[in-house]
C-alpha cells in the first residue's frame, strides 16, 4: 500500500486524526540523513498525547540538529482490523513510515495494562515479539516509564529497559542505535552499559528448582555489576522541558499547556510508587518557570495552563509563582490549573488563585477514611485539615468536589469503611456551610454541595513499603464496597464511582511479577487481549486462563505477604530509595506510625545521602532551622502525638 492510499483508508476510521499527525509544532521528520527513532505510547492517541514524558523525549530528540523522533500509538480496533485484513504494517504519524524501517523503537510504559498492547504493536509491525527471535535488520526495542522499575514480566520482549529519566541518556541511545558500523547485538550491549540501561539478555538468573522462584541475578558482560541504578538529572533547571509542545487538533484527555514545576515528592505515602521512584524532590526556579509559561502559551495558544507535579503545593515558592502567573493570565482569559494538590497546605492566597480557574475541577484525596488507616499509609493528613480545606473551598464558592479513596489497603477493616462513609458525610456537611460573599463578607447559606467519590482498589507496587504486602481478594473488596454503598445509600449529595476490582488484581500481579509472567502476557495478547486499560475491553477470564496454562496462580503473586528476606524479582533495579528504608517504613506502617515529610522536617534518610537536592533546597528556602523545628512540634500537636 502506498502512503497516499494508507491516508485514504483513514477516511473510514472513527477518528482519523489519531493517525495523521501534522499538528501544530509536530516535528519535520523529512531529513533522511538524520539519526532516527520512533517513540510509541502503546495506547490510543488521546491517552498517549496526554503523557508529559512522551512529549519531553519527543521534543528533546527533535531539538537535536542531527536527530529526529517520530510518534506512533496503538491503533483503535477499526484500523487494526483493516491493517490485519490487508496485511499492512502500522505506520508513524510524522512520515507514515512502517515502524520496522526505523532503527530504534521506544515504548513508554506508564502502566502494566500496556504490555499486551506493546506486543500487538510489534506484531502489527512485523517485528518478532520475543527479543531472541529478532534479526540483524530489526529495530532495537527499548522501554521506559514507571514500569521499568519492575521490567521482569516483559524482560523477554525488550532489548533494553531504561530505568529513570530517559532524557538523560536518550540521545546517546539514538546515536548508538543508528550506528550501523557495529552489529545489532553489539549496539544492544553498548546501550546496556549506559547509565540506567538494563539489558535483560545480558543477565543470568538462578531460580529455585522446586518453586521456580528467583534466587539471584548476575550480569554476564559486567560481572562486577550488581544492580541497575536509575538515571536522573540532579538539577531540574538543567533538564529539558518542551516550550513548543505539539497542540493536538482534536481533544485529548489532558488538553492543556503543561508546565512541570517540580519533580519528585517529599511525602512518601506508603502505597504510592510515584512518591518513591521520582525522588528526590527537585524544583524549577520561579523566574525560569515564568519565562517557560510565557513561551509555552505563545507557541501553543492554549487557554489552560496546568502546573504539573505530584503535589503543586510542595514547590517552595508556589504562592508567589501562582500569584504572578494568575495576574498575568487572568487578563488574557487563560486559566491556571493545579492538577494535583494536597490538602494540608492550602493557603487562602492559593484559594484566591484557584477561584479564578474553572470551579469544577477540585480533586481531593484523603485516600482512607479513618485516622488510623491514614497514619498507617502515611498520608499525614488529619480530619481537621481535611475539613478545614473543604470549608475554605466552600467559602470560596465551590459547590462540587471530587474525592479519591482507596479500599483494600493493608490493615484495613470493615470499621475503616464505616469511618470513610462518616468522613464523606462530614465533608458534605462542611461543604454546605456556604460561600462568603467577597464584597459584603457575609456567609451565603443554604447552598447545595455535591461530591463525587472515586473509589479505587489498592494495588501493591514495587519500590514502595507495601511491596511485601498482600492484596485483598475480589470478594473482600466487593464486601467492603457494599458496606460503603449501604452506609451512604440515599445520600443525595454523594455520587460513588468505582472501577473494576479484578483489573487492579492483574495490575498488582504484573507490578510485582517475575519472568514467568512473560508467557502469560503473550498468551493473553494472542487470545485477543489489547487496549485492556479501557475497562470494557478487559477480560479477567483471559488472564485466569493464561495463568492456569502456565501453572501459576494469583495467590502466589498477590494474595500473600512476601517474606522480607525473599529475593524480589525487581531487587536488582534501584530507584535510589534504599530497601532498608522501605523495610523500616513497612514496620512503621504496622505500628500505625507516620513519617513526616522531609522538607519542613528532618531528613528521613531514604537513601540519597548528603547529595540529596532537598537538603540544598532547605538551605535556600526561607525556613530557618528554628522554624523547621517549630513546625514539627505544631504538627505533632495537631495529631495529638507529642512525645
Amino acid at each position: 500500500m502506498r502512503k497516499d492510499e494508507y491516508l485514504r483508508i483513514l477516511t473510514s476510521m472513527e477518528k482519523p486524526y489519531r493517525y495523521t499527525g501534522g499538528e501544530l509544532n509536530a516535528a519535520d521528520c523529512s531529513d533522511t540523513n538524520a539519526k532516527k527513532m520512533v517513540i510509541v505510547f502503546p495506547d490510543t492517541y488521546e491517552i498517549g498525547m496526554s503523557h508529559v514524558g512522551v512529549r519531553i523525549l519527543y521534543h528533546l530528540i527533535n531539538a537535536q540538529k542531527d536527530m529526529y523522533c517520530e510518534r506512533a500509538f496503538h491503533p483503535w480496533t477499526d484500523l487494526e482490523d483493516v491493517l490485519r485484513k490487508s496485511n499492512e504494517p502500522l505506520r508513524t504519524l510524522e512520515t507514515q513510515t512502517p515502524l520496522k524501517e526505523l532503527p530504534l523503537i521506544g515504548f513508554s510504559l506508564a502502566y502494566e495494562m500496556l504490555y499486551a498492547n506493546m506486543l500487538n504493536i510489534l506484531d502489527l509491525s512485523n517485528i518478532a515479539v520475543e527479543a531472541i527471535d529478532r534479526d540483524e535488520n530489526d529495530p532495537i526495542i527499548i522501554t521506559g516509564g514507571p514500569c521499568s522499575y519492575n521490567p521482569e514480566p516483559i524482560a523477554s520482549f525488550v532489548d533494553i529497559v531504561v530505568v529513570g529519566e530517559a532524557e538523560e541518556v536518550i540521545c546517546e541511545i539514538v546515536n548508538i542505535a543508528n550506528d550501523k558500523s557495529i552489529s545489532r547485538r553489539d549496539r544492544i550491549i553498548a546501550i546496556g552499559h549506559l547509565k540506567g540501561c538494563y539489558n535483560p539478555s545480558d543477565t543470568k538468573l538462578t531460580t529455585d528448582e522446586k518453586s521456580g522462584k528467583l534466587t539471584g541475578l548476575s550480569f554476564i558482560s559486567e560481572p562486577e555489576k550488581t544492580q541497575i541504578d536509575k538515571v536522573y538529572g540532579k538539577d531540574l533547571n538543567k533538564s529539558w522541558f518542551p516550550c513548543n509542545p505539539i497542540v493536538p487538533n482534536a481533544e485529548i484527555i489532558h488538553d492543556r499547556a503543561n508546565l512541570e514545576i517540580h519533580r519528585g515528592c517529599i511525602h512518601g505515602c506508603r502505597f504510592c510508587q510515584a512518591g518513591y521512584i521520582y525522588r528526590p524532590l527537585r524544583t524549577r526556579k520561579t523566574e525560569k518557570l515564568l519565562n517557560m509559561a510565557d513561551e509555552i502559551l505563545t507557541s501553543t495558544g492554549y487557554e489552560d495552563l496546568g502546573l504539573v507535579s505530584l503535589n503543586s503545593v510542595d514547590h517552595p515558592d508556589i504562592v508567589n509563582l501562582s500569584t504572578i502567573l494568575d495576574k498575568k493570565l487572568h487578563s488574557k482569559r487563560i486559566s491556571l490549573g493545579f492538577p494535583s494538590l494536597r490538602l494540608d497546605a492550602i493557603s487562602s492566597e492559593l484559594v484566591d488563585v484557584l477561584g479564578h480557574t474553572k470551579k469544577n475541577n477540585i480533586t481531593v484525596a484523603p485516600e482512607a477514611g479513618s485516622q488510623r488507616l491514614r497514619d498507617l499509609i502515611n498520608k499525614n493528613l488529619t480530619e481537621e485539615q481535611i475539613l478545614n480545606s473543604i470549608k475554605t473551598f466552600s467559602e470560596g464558592g465551590w459547590q462540587k468536589m471530587k474525592l479519591y479513596f482507596m479500599i483494600g489497603l493493608p490493615g484495613e477493616t470493615d470499621e475503616d469503611i464505616v469511618e470513610m462513609a462518616e468522613l464523606i458525610r462530614k465533608i458534605v456537611k462542611t461543604g454546605k456551610l456556604g460561600k462568603i460573599d467577597p464584597e459584603t463578607g457575609k456567609l451565603q447559606k443554604g447552598r447545595p454541595f455535591k461530591v463525587t467519590v472515586n473509589v479505587s482498589s489498592f494495588v501493591a507496587k514495587s519500590h514502595t513499603p507495601f511491596q511485601w504486602s498482600k492484596m485483598d481478594t475480589e470478594e473482600t473488596l466487593k464486601a467492603r464496597m457494599h458496606i460503603l454503598l449501604s452506609q451512604l445509600s440515599g445520600h443525595k449529595a454523594v455520587t460513588i464511582k468505582w472501577r473494576d476490582f479484578d483489573l487492579g488484581l492483574i495490575e498488582g500481579m504484573l507490578a510485582r511479577g517475575d519472568r514467568r509472567l512473560g508467557p502469560v502476557i503473550k498468551k493473553v495478547w494472542k487470545d485477543g487481549g489489547r487496549l485492556e486499560s479501557w475497562s470494557d475491553r478487559f477480560e479477567f477470564a483471559r488472564w485466569e486462563k493464561a495463568l492456569k496454562s502456565e501453572n501459576l496462580t494469583l495467590d502466589e503473586y498477590i494474595f500473600r505477604d512476601i517474606d522480607k528476606d525473599e529475593t524480589l524479582a525487581w531487587q536488582h533495579i534501584h530507584c535510589g530509595v534504599s530497601v532498608d528504608y522501605l523495610k523500616k517504613e513497612y514496620e512503621k506502617a504496622k505500628d500505625e506510625e507516620c513519617t513526616k515529610n522531609c522538607f519542613t522536617n528532618n531528613c528521613s534518610n531514604c537513601g540519597f545521602g548528603k547529595d540529596c537536592p532537598v537538603l540544598e533546597l532547605k538551605k535556600n528556602s526561607d525556613l530557618t532551622e528554628d522554624e523547621v523545628i517549630e513546625n514539627e512540634v505544631t504538627e505533632e500537636k495537631m495529631n495529638g502525638e507529642v512525645e
Binding site: 502512503k3 483508508i9 501534522g22 509536530a26 487538533n249 482534536a250 495558544g301
Partner: protein, 254 residues
C-alpha cells in the same frame, strides 16, 4: 483595551489534508488557538465564563475539504488585514491556511444571514473507481452524467434520516435543497489533478453541485452516494469532496 468598542473582521481559510478529519467542535479549538497566538485583542462575552465573540460558517462534514471557510471575529481594536493574515499563518497545523481578512462595516450582516448556498465539487479518484466498477473499461465514462440529469429531473429525492433514540427513522425529501448539478467534462484534455502526496491520481470528470446551506440541507456525502450508488456508505475513499465557496442571498461568491 476598550471593551465597548467593537470591530469585526471576516477571515477566509482553507481546511485541507489531515485537517479534514477534524470535527467542527475540534476545529473551533484549533482556530481559536491560532487566533490567540496572534495576540489580537479579542472581544469577550459578558458573564460568568466569558467567551470570545466569534461566528463560524456551517460545519463541514468529516473528510470534506474546505476551500473558502469563513469566521467572523470581534475585536476591541481595528486590525490590519494583511498583517493579521501573516501573523495567523506563521504557526498553523498542517492543512490550515488563512487566505483573506476583511474588516466589516458595522452594519454588515453576520455569516448566518449571508450564507445561503454552498458550491461543492466531487472528484472521483480514477484508479480506485475502476476497482469498484468492473464493467467499465474506459476510465473516463462514469455514470455521472446520467445521474446528474436524472437527479435534477426528479421531483422528490427521499432520504431516510436516522432519528433520535426510540423514534422511527424519518423520510426527508432533499430535492428542494439541490439547486444545480453539473458535470464538468474535461474537454481541454488537461486532467484534473487531485491533490495527493504523489500527484499521480488523475481524473477527467468532476461534478459541481450548488446546494442549500444551513439547517435544511443535504449532506454532500449523501449526494455523493446518490451520484455513485455503487460506492456504498463511505464514498470518501473514492471521491474527493470539496466545499469550494459559499453564496450570499443574491448569489454573490463569499
Amino acid at each position: 483595551m476598550n471593551q465597548h468598542e467593537k470591530f469585526r473582521i471576516r477571515l477566509s481559510y482553507l481546511k485541507t489534508s489531515s485537517l479534514i478529519f477534524i470535527s467542527h467542535r475540534s476545529l473551533i479549538d484549533v482556530l481559536m488557538r491560532a487566533i490567540r497566538r496572534t495576540q489580537v485583542p479579542l472581544k469577550f462575552t459578558q458573564g460568568f465564563s466569558p467567551r470570545p465573540k466569534v461566528m463560524f460558517s456551517p460545519p463541514l462534514p468529516l473528510g470534506v475539504t474546505g476551500k473558502a471557510e469563513l469566521i467572523d471575529i470581534e475585536t476591541t481594536k481595528l486590525i490590519d488585514e494583511d498583517n493579521f493574515i501573516l501573523l495567523l499563518n506563521k504557526a498553523v497545523p498542517e492543512g490550515l491556511m488563512f487566505t483573506k481578512a476583511t474588516n466589516l462595516m458595522p452594519q454588515a450582516p453576520g455569516l448566518s444571514k449571508m450564507i445561503k448556498k454552498a458550491v461543492y465539487t466531487f472528484t472521483p479518484y480514477v484508479k480506485r473507481l475502476k476497482d469498484h466498477i468492473p464493467v467499465e473499461e474506459s476510465g473516463s465514462s462514469f455514470p455521472t452524467t446520467s445521474k446528474t440529469t436524472e437527479l435534477m429531473n426528479m421531483n422528490e429525492i427521499l432520504i431516510t434520516k436516522k432519528a433520535k433514540k426510540g423514534k422511527p427513522p424519518k423520510e426527508v425529501n432533499v430535492r428542494p435543497f439541490i439547486f444545480s448539478l453539473e458535470v464538468n467534462d474535461d474537454e481541454s484534455g488537461a486532467k484534473n489533478n487531485v491533490e495527493t502526496d504523489q500527484n499521480d491520481i488523475k481524473t477527467d470528470q468532476m461534478v459541481t453541485a450548488t446546494i442549500a446551506s444551513g439547517d435544511k440541507t443535504v449532506s454532500p456525502l449523501i449526494l455523493a452516494t446518490l451520484l455513485w450508488p455503487e460506492l456504498g456508505e463511505s464514498p470518501l475513499e473514492n471521491v474527493k469532496i470539496t466545499r469550494e465557496y459559499f453564496l450570499s442571498p443574491i448569489d454573490m461568491k463569499l
